[in-house]
Each structure stands twice: as structure tokens, then as C-alpha cells.
């Protein structure tokens, strides 16, 4: 199977080593615990395992068989065939981190292009080679701001309209740090789009203000007043983005963000039940030295030829060890490559088209659904991108259950994370949803409501 040794090979090797049998290589291991019996199933052949996995996969309902309106941080976009065909090249996916630049120019150039594309998309100066996902990128933004202020500012303000999972992960990451206080996302500060109550909390002890664009409810908010207030207080501003929205929306780099990060999954990465995804992370030139994770830079080789290398490595854990600001080592190389290929394939026109389709269809869906008796759009009148909030006349749990009879995944139940939005549903619409799908949801909602 995956070990090529013949009996004869093993004999030759043992003789060279000078031991009688393979088991003799393990005598340093306490005898009492050596060679345990593992309670695992017996081995399967490739043919059998292919069958078994197929039947496990078939026990799921996927977005192929279900009409999906769930977003809330992961989105069902079309991935062009060329993306996966190229990802399957063994030269890409069976290589490791490009420690040896002479024989890793493929990976290095791809990351360099990824960094460039993310800068263009976000309007920022520098992007790193990726973090694990949007949530861990949020935590890295907090850590960056902490170090930027040399640990002297302790208040970190997170908008309540930032993805709840991002906020949870930020709290987990910082639980060991006594001088980091995460606040601003309490029900009292609330989710009002004026951001007034959050802005009022910005002071000279504030290290970072984090907002989301579009926010968790899909709203597109003007953050200029907030950013001005933060900068006046010397605080940094981190903006979580959905990259798809940046096909039509003004990038945060143009309205003063210091850090732009987000979940890169919408850029050509399959839903795959939550991972592997991609943590986008970009900063202004002023913060370049504070960015964690890998960075690829351009240089020349000993013959003067253009070449790419990992650079500013002295910031990283393998050199700074306990002095490093982040422990990140492995990143999301192949996922960054997927998004690089995706953005290259779609290009300016294709990417703008996808972004616009999401925007248009979501607006049609919002209009259709809020026209049904009893259903109201919660942030009606406020600009939104491809996700919106609907208040349902019946408990969301039941509504979603009822929609399942129509093979529809109706959306995300916001009451789970926001008591103030009990009875509200977050609905996402991508380019994969057609008008007839939206009409189907509309009709199904009418039917289940009349029951």
C-alpha cells in the first residue's frame, strides 16, 4: 500500500542497522506500554474505503439537494472547474512551506500574487500569506493592536455586529492575557447602525475598535465617524470584510481602516462543512512590521534573476520563540492558492459580476419575503449587501423545520446569538440562487405561514 518494503528489503535494512528484528528498534520505550492492542476496525482496501466514505457522505443533505439560504460567515458560491484542477497539481499540494526558495518558486510566486490581490481588493498596503480563518484572523488583529501599543492600552472594543464566532474566538485567544479587556459587544451597547454607543466608549486606553463590513446582519454601514473617533484617540481600527462584497463596495482601505481581515472562503473555497477556509489579513504600511504570519517578498538570485522568498522571518516563532507575537507556523497555503486562482479567473469583470448578482438577488429576495403578510425586514431602509434580517411571525425554529419539507434551508436563526433578535432569521443569497428559487422560498413561506 503506502510502504514499499519487501521482506527482502527489510532484511537488508535490519542487517545494515545491526538488529535482528524491527521490534528491537523500540527497546527504549517502556516495555509495559509497548505495542498496545488498538481497538480499531480492521483495515479497508481503497475500493472498500471509497464505498464507505461515499455512503457516509450520502447520509448528508448537501446544497446540491437542498436549496440553501444559510450564510452567516460561509457562503455557497460557484467555484469554476479550473480552480480545483489546478489545486490538484501534486507540485502544489504535496509541497510544504517554501523554506528552500530555489525549489519553491511556484508556491512563493502564488503567495506573492495572493498578497497583491488581497491588497487590491481591500485597498490596503500589505497582506500576509493568510491566517487559519476569519475568526482566528480577528484574534490576530487584537494581538497586533496589543503589541502596537506595547501592551499599554488594555481596552479592545468589538462591535456587537461582528460575527459572534469571531468574538468568541477573540475571547478564547486572549483569556490568558490579564491586560486585554474585550468589551463593546454587550446588549446595552447594542447593534444600532449609528454606532454612537460604541463610539462613546472609545478613549485613550482603547487599543482597537473592531467592526464588520458588511456586518453580521448584512448591513453596509458608514464607518467614517467611528474611524475618525478611534484615530483621534490613537486607537487602531480593524474591519472584518466579506471579500465578495468588495467587488462592488468601497474597500476599507479607502475609508481609513488600519487592519482589514476576514473569512476568505467565498473566494473559490468549497463550504466543506466549515473548513479548511482562509483568514485574510491586510494592514497599512505603518503596521507592516507588526503583521504576524508569513510574508513573501521579491528579490533576486545570485545570477540577478527575479526571485521570491519568505521575508521578515525574524518576526516569526521559529526565530523569536517566546518573543514572537504570534505562534502561527502552518497557514492556509493551498486555500490562499485557491483564492488566487479564483480571483485571476474571474478577474475584474467576473468578480464584479458575482458581487453584483449577490447584491441584486438578495434585494429581490428581501422585497419578496417582506411582502408576505406578517414578515418584516428588520433593518429596512438601511443599505445591505447579500444578507438581510427578516422577523418571522412564528418561532424561527418551527419555521425552518417547516421549510425543510420543501427541501429548503431557510437561513440562520439569529435568536441563538442575539436575544434581542429572537424570532429573526438571517437570509443569505448568492449568485447560485435563481429568481425561481427565491420565488419558491416566497411561496413556501406563504404556505407554511397559513398552515
Amino acid at each position: 500500500m503506502f510502504t514499499p518494503h519487501t521482506q527482502k528489503d527489510v532484511e537488508v535494512m535490519l542487517k545494515t542497522i545491526g538488529v535482528g528484528k524491527v521490534e528491537d528498534l523500540f527497546t527504549e520505550i517502556p516495555e509495559k506500554y509497548r505495542f498496545p492492542e488498538l481497538k480499531l476496525p480492521t483495515s479497508l482496501t481503497e475500493m472498500e474505503v471509497a464505498d464507505e466514505l461515499e455512503s457516509i457522505a450520502n447520509a448528508n443533505g448537501s446544497t446540491k439537494s437542498l436549496l440553501n439560504f444559510i450564510g452567516a460567515g460561509a457562503y455557497d458560491h460557484y467555484v469554476p472547474a479550473a480552480v480545483d484542477m489546478l489545486l490538484r497539481r501534486g507540485e502544489f499540494y504535496t509541497a510544504y512551506t517554501p523554506y528552500q526558495p530555489e525549489i519553491s518558486q511556484g508556491t512563493l510566486q502564488a503567495i506573492f500574487e495572493y498578497q497583491s490581490l488581497i491588497c487590491e481588493l481591500t485597498g490596503m498596503d500589505v497582506a500576509n500569506a493568510s491566517h487559519y480563518d476569519g475568526a482566528t484572523a480577528a484574534a490576530e488583529a487584537v494581538i497586533l493592536a496589543y503589541h502596537h501599543h506595547k501592551g499599554k492600552r488594555t481596552k479592545f472594543l468589538l462591535s456587537r455586529a461582528v460575527n459572534p464566532q469571531y468574538r468568541e474566538v477573540v475571547r478564547t485567544y486572549t483569556r490568558g492575557s490579564k491586560d486585554i479587556t474585550i468589551q463593546g459587544d454587550d446588549p446595552e451597547t447594542g447593534i444600532d447602525s449609528s454606532m454612537e454607543k460604541l463610539i462613546a466608549q472609545i478613549d485613550a486606553n482603547t487599543a482597537l475598535v473592531m467592526v464588520q463590513y458588511p456586518d453580521f446582519f448584512g448591513r453596509v454601514i458608514d464607518y467614517k465617524p467611528l474611524i475618525e473617533a478611534a484615530h483621534n484617540a490613537g486607537a487602531l481600527v480593524a474591519v472584518a470584510v466579506n471579500p465578495t462584497a468588495l467587488g462592488v463596495l468601497t474597500p476599507p482601505g479607502e475609508f481609513g481602516a488600519d487592519i482589514v481581515f476576514g473569512e476568505g472562503q467565498p473566494l473559490g473555497i468549497p463550504l466543506s462543512y466549515g473548513g479548511p477556509y482562509l483568514g485574510i489579513f491586510a494592514v497599512t504600511n505603518d503596521l507592516l512590521r507588526k503583521i504576524s504570519g508569513r510574508l513573501v517578498g521579491e528579490t533576486v538570485d545570485n545570477a540577478g534573476r527575479l526571485a521570491y522568498v519568505l521575508t521578515l522571518t525574524a518576526r516569526e516563532q521559529h526565530i523569536r520563540r517566546e518573543k514572537a507575537s504570534s505562534n502561527i507556523c502552518t497557514n492556509q497555503g493551498l486555500m490562499a492558492l485557491a483564492s488566487t486562482i479564483y480571483l485571476s479567473l474571474l478577474g475584474k469583470q467576473g468578480f464584479e459580476a458575482v458581487s453584483n448578482l449577490c447584491f441584486q438577488k438578495a434585494h429581490y429576495a428581501a422585497k419578496q419575503i417582506s411582502s408576505i403578510q406578517g414578515y418584516t425586514q428588520v433593518f429596512s431602509g438601511q443599505p445591505f449587501f447579500h444578507e438581510f434580517v427578516i422577523r418571522s411571525p412564528q418561532p424561527v425554529e418551527h419555521l425552518l423545520e417547516d421549510l425543510r419539507a420543501y427541501d429548503i434551508l431557510g437561513g440562520y436563526d439569529l435568536g441563538k446569538d442575539y436575544p434581542e433578535l429572537e424570532g429573526c432569521l438571517l437570509i443569505a443569497v448568492t449568485e447560485k440562487i435563481g429568481k425561481e428559487d427565491i420565488d419558491l422560498l416566497h411561496d413556501a413561506l406563504i404556505e407554511v405561514t397559513h398552515d
Binding site: 530555489e102 487590491e120 468549497p270 480571483l343
Partner: protein
Amino acid sequence: MTEPTIFELSSPGRQGVRFPASDVPEVELPAAFRRKELPLPELAEIDVVRHFTRISQKNYAIDLGFYPLGSCTMKYNPKINEVTSRLPGFALTHPLQPEDTVQGNLYLMYTLQEWLKEIVGFAGVTLQPAAGAHGELTGVLIIQKYHADRGDTQRTRILIPDSAHGTNPATSAMSGFEVVHLPSDARGNVDLEALKGLCDENLAGLMLTNPNTLGLFDENVTQVIELVHAAGGLVYGDGANLNALLGIVRPGDLGFDIMHLNLHKTFSTPHGGGGPGSGPVAVCQRLVEYLPDPVVAIVEPGGEELPPLYGYAHPTKSIGRVKSFNGHFGILVRAYTYIAMHGRDGLSNIAKKSVLNANYLLAKVKDTYHLPYDRRCMHEFVVEGQWADAPGIRALDIAKRLIDYNFHPPTNYFPLIVHEALMIEPTETESIETLDAFADAMLKIAVEARENPELLHEAPHNSPVGRCDEVRAAKQLILRAPKA
């Protein structure tokens, strides 16, 4: 040949993929939010495919040849993994789907948790962490919360052997701990006397990689663990080198309290040019309730006819969530596939052959390359890449010369406690012919180092680019392509 960047290949008006026209009534985005320009490249599909195919050919990879990068376990990545993980039933499921629509995913995750628990001998497992370093963070945060919950807040120190990966001290510092370095003894084990001196009421835990980064199994491991436990500390096992122990010994049986596993090392999931990895964390019974939230569990037992209902459970003292959604699910499918193909008897064969390969290679090169700790190795070993009679030759030169022989170089300059270290991990998937060819190259290079050192200094000679000017890269800092 230099390949232009994707921006240089752009030509205004080209498009790689078209999308259908909108089929709904048009609405306008408020002008205040509308983007003015979108400076993305414009290429036809063929341009994109050729570009990425051409740059891929500048990479070395496992599929091209031997990749003995120490501590990275660059074993062959079975192709079936790539097929199973892309099955539409897996790849097209949304992470927030209702649990009853993803029973297949939950079954797979639950079973993988159970298998990993059994393989390493622990009571609980989380599949959430995204990579080894992320698993370390999870584990160290568990140590932190465990002591905090017991009111043991004076336990602020984590001990880390000097041979450890850089992620260990970085993780500990990031979690608010003070890092204290623990020296190695003359045989490469943890220095027991030094350890005894550090076992006090301030000790939070010890992070131990075993086998360590020298490829040596710590001969006193059970004593080390007992000392730390007696002082009230917890022992964290860095699973980077678990490949040597599969089916040989279970770290949980040895007394480790927490351990992360690298699915992208031990369980054959691809390294992807630097990720995605996956770093599940296993814990002993007293730490089960500290695992990240949520874990997969059976929420309703099955009956004779009915399979059980799988869902999410929430550990009561959890450190919280460490990542969005459910971990690197696509990687978990690959690891599941791999473990299923090995089964109860096959796993130990992985460790046996990896240790056999490493010792065979060691036997072939150790008369030529100095071995700082002359012991039998586990799955990898470290030699010195320098000789008194070859002045000016460094490990780096040997590493680069190996490229000329069509091999990926070993890890060099790590671990830090060996001068001019070359850390070699052949893995179990390599044949005797490959190992012989590599050993031959190592021996030839040792001769070249004396007879024609320039050959080494100027290596590699036939790679897409030669040695790169890293100082220039760090000083000039060109981190993005110029705008199209």
C-alpha cells in the same frame, strides 16, 4: 525562465469565467458605498491555467521525489484522500446546517474523535484546531484554565526543553505564561536534575516533544512526567513526532495529560505548500470538560434498527471556541480515510517502517556525518553539516547541494542545540532504493566538500533560481506586485 505575474499577464477586456445575467429587477447600490475601481487582472481561462501550471513546475514536491524535511513528516499523500474529501455530500455541506441534515459529517467526526482517542490513549478529543501551533494554543489555554479554576493562579511557568520547536515557547508566551528553558542532558534527554530544581508551586506545566526533535525517545519519560505531576503541573505532549509511535506506545499511557496531533504529518493529509493543516487535541479524563466548545457527541443513543443521533455537546468548563465552525473538516475526511485503510493492525506498520527507514539511513551516513548524540534514533535523526577539514562548508551548503541531486534538503539549523544541524526524516513511504540514492548523494557531497567546495557554495546549479538574496528582500520589502 521568469514567469510574469498575473498582473503583467492581464489584458483589459479579457475574462476567464462568465456568469449569467441577473434575472431579477435591478436595484442601485447607494453611490456613497459604490467602489470606484476594481483593479483585478483580466485574463482568459487558458492564460490562468498556463500561468499556474508553469509556476507549479518550479516547485519541488513529494510527488516528484524524496522530501526528508525533519519534523515535517513529508510522507506520501494517498490520492484516495483527495477523492473522498471532495465528495459532494461532504464538500457541499454548510457548517451551520441543522444537525439532522449532516449526520454523515457528524458520524465521521465522532468516529474520528473515538479513533484518535484510542490511538493516543486519551479520554477526550477536539477536532477544532487548524494546525499544530493552533493545537498547542488550545492545549496551553486548557492548562491555564485548569489551574485558574482551581485557584492555582501562582502557576505561571511553563517548562520547555531547549530542543523544542519554536511554536512551543511562542504559544506559552502568547497564553500569558513565563517560559523557562529546560536543558538537555548528554544523551539528549531532559536533564532530570535541572527539572527537579524547577518543579515548584509556580510550575504550570511542561511541554515535551517525544521523540524529541533530535529523533530521540526520552529514556526517562515516565520519570519526567511523574516529577511534573508531583509538583502539581500538567504535561503537554507535542505530537509533531507521533509518526514514530503509532501503534507502538500510547502517550496517554505514559502519563501525558494533553497532546496535539498533526493530521498533516502523521495521518497523511497534504501539506498544501504550507497548509491547511489540522491539529486535533487529545486530553486525559480530568481535562475533558475544558475542551473547546463544541465537541461532537451522540445526543440520542440508537436502537437495534436506528442509528444513534449525532450532534454537538458543550463541555462545561470549556476554554471556549478556538476557530470558526467545525475545524478543518475536509482534512478530517482525509485522515479518516487514511486511518480506515490502516485499521488496527496497519497503524504500527507506519511507525515501524518510518523508524526502520530512519535507522537505515542513519547507519549509512553516520561514519561520514558527525552524530551529536550517538544513539539509535526513532523516525528522524540529526547530524552535523560541518567538518574540521572542510573549512567554510556549512549545513546550508550541503542542503543546497542536495537539490542538485534532485532531493529536497533536510531541515537545517534546527534544533538550535546542534551546530549546523541537518535534521533528516525519511518517513515510512520511501523505498530502500530511494534511501540508498540519498545516502550516496550525502556521501558524495562529503567528498565534494573537501575536493571542490565551490560546488557546494554555489549550489544549487540547476534549479529554477539560484541562491536568493534574502537580505535585499528584507531591506527593500517588495511585498506586492505593482498595480496593473
